[in-house]
Structure formats: C-alpha cells, structure tokens
Symmetry: D2
C-alpha cells in the first residue's frame, strides 16, 4: 500500500469509527474544505507572511492538515487516485505555462 493510500485508510477508519461517512457527501466536504482553507488564511490576517509564520506556526500546521484531510476524503469517496490527479494537473499546467515564457 502506498503512503497516500495508508493515510486515506487512517482517515477513513477515523470517520467510520464515528459513523460520520453518512454526512460526507462531496458537496458538504467541499464546503468544509473551503472553511478550513479560510481558517488557514486567518493565521495570516492583518499580518505579514513572515510575522504570521513566526506567530502562528502550530495553528498553520493544523489547518493545512485539515485541508489535506478533506482533500483525501473527497478523492477517496470519488474513487480517485490522488497521486495521478496531481501529476495530471502538473502536466496540464506545464502546457498552459511553458517554461520558455516564464
């Protein structure tokens, strides 16, 4: 089992232990992901990037983890291969933004 598959397995165990999968349709997961992304942004509110990292590192770590956990729940529930998704998007971006134009 790959590293990402292992993480997904742990995340799915977490929600199955609590019988939470019944609430987890993709739309409500996307709402939660958006809320967590804003909580990450809140660590940078009224601050320079540098000051935010100095002050809020512990919380930044938690919010990034929350965002990634929701991403992995969605990819798992939709039967997607996370690693492949990321590689395909990088390839698409590489065509959209050719190196020679940067």
């Amino acid at each position: 089992m790959s590293e990402i598959e292992e993480l997904i397995k742990e995340i799915n165990k977490f929600r199955d232990d609590r019988d939470w999968r019944q609430f987890h349709n993709p739309k409500d997961l996307a709402i939660s992901l958006s809320i967590e992304a804003a909580e990450l942004l809140e660590d940078f509110q009224w601050k320079s990037s540098h000051a935010a990292v100095e002050t809020n590192m512990e919380n930044i770590k938690e919010e990034i983890a929350d965002v990634m956990i929701y991403c992995l729940m969605i990819t798992s529930d939709l039967g997607l291969d996370t690693k492949q998704l990321i590689r395909e998007k990088l390839e698409k971006n590489a065509k959209k933004y050719p190196v020679e134009q940067s």
Copy 2:
C-alpha cells in the same frame, strides 16, 4: 524517497523551472489555496452533490489537485513533514471527538 516527497519534488521542479518561487511566500500561497478551494466549491454551486459530481467530475479533479498542490508547496516551503502533520491532526481530532460519544 517517499511518495509524497516525490510529488513535492515534482511540484518544486515545476515552479523552479519557471522561477516562480520568488512570489511564493506562505501568505500568498494561503490566499491562492483559498481561491482554489472556492473554485472547487463552484463546481457544486446551485447543484445537489450528486448532480455536481455527474456534471463536473473532470473539473472537480483539477480543483482538488490545485488545492493539494498549494498544500504541498506550503508544507515544503515551511519545512514540514506532510504525513506527520496529517497523523498528528488525526490524533488530536480523535481526542476531541472520542469514538464513544459519536
């Protein structure tokens, strides 16, 4: 090299090839992550979860990839261990939401 480290290496090569790392302070990456999370949410706008997945699967895949790419950029730039972050957050959540109370 682990699977996630491999992905981070590919993402970092992508931005180094384009000399983009100079723009990528954590605050601006968190802003971009929040924008991509909203673009994922847009796939579900005015739709039921089921209808959105039926209609917008290709775009949903791309937006989740974008969100994950920004997460991996931030963890890489802050010198964080992505897998450990996720595991620590799951442990913290497990204490906050004990199985017996669900």
Copy 3:
C-alpha cells in the same frame, strides 16, 4: 422606502423576473457569497494591494457588487433589517474592542 430597501427591491425583481428564487435557499446563497468573496480575492492574487487596485479596479468593483448582492438576498430572504444588523454588529464590536485598549 429607504435606499437599502430600494436596492433589495431591484435585486428581488431581477431574480423574480428569471424565476430564480426557487434555487435561493440561504445555504446555497452562502456558498455563492463565499465563491464571490474568493473572486474578489483573486484580483489581489500574486500582487501587492496597490498593484491590484491599479490593474483590476473594474473587476474589483464588480466582485464587491456581487458579494453585496448576495448579502442583500440573504437578509431579504431571512426577513432581516440590513441596517440594523450592521449597527448591532458595530455596537458588539465596540464592546469587544474598547477604544481605550487600541
């Protein structure tokens, strides 16, 4: 009729003319508001505040208008008095952040 009530009347005429009110439950309006807020933020992506205003003023105006239109739809649909809401929140904030502590 007050100025804000006039605007709400025009907004409601706009959606009634298109028979859109049937889709406008508060949850989906809150989703759309969040998406529009991110589109406003996109005008500032990878830019200083000053450069964004110089470059994207026309779009900034449109995105703020979109956010306000969704706010007014929600207050209208929930039977709320927009002006009173704002004044009550300012009073609450004034107690939370006393002038002498600033």
Copy 4:
C-alpha cells in the same frame, strides 16, 4: 446624507477611533472579507439550509453584518459609490442573463 453613506460614516468612525485604518489596505480587507464569508458558511456546515437557519440565526446575522462591513470599508477606501456599483452589476447581469432565456 444617504442611508449607506451614514453606515459608512459610522464604520469609519469605529476604525478611526481605534486607529485601525493604517492596517486596512484593500488586499487585507479582501482577505478578511473572505474569512468572514467562510464563517457565515460555517453556520451551514453539515446542516440542511433549513436546520442551519433554525439553529444559528443569531450567528448568521452577525456574519452577514461582518461581510457587509468589510464591503463598505473597501468601497469607502476606494472612493466608490456602493449603490451605483450594485446597480451597474445588476444591469450587466441583466444583459448576461436575459429574462426570455430563463
């Protein structure tokens, strides 16, 4: 003085009393607006629209007020006419979505 101008005057007095205007560049205001929009969305997290309104009405009112206060700060700081912005956007939307096509 119009109703919206009166509200803007009260909001500006609030921040001037606290000497907060120095932090309020449009980019950081747009970040805050996005965070408040997500806090409104949080009132609807894991809930139907109806249940959220039943349960969280008081908080929904506060979050909408916060979003509108940030909108009015931005329009004030950029020297924009809020009412005109909204009317121009409604006119643009009316052309984009003609009544006969709905």
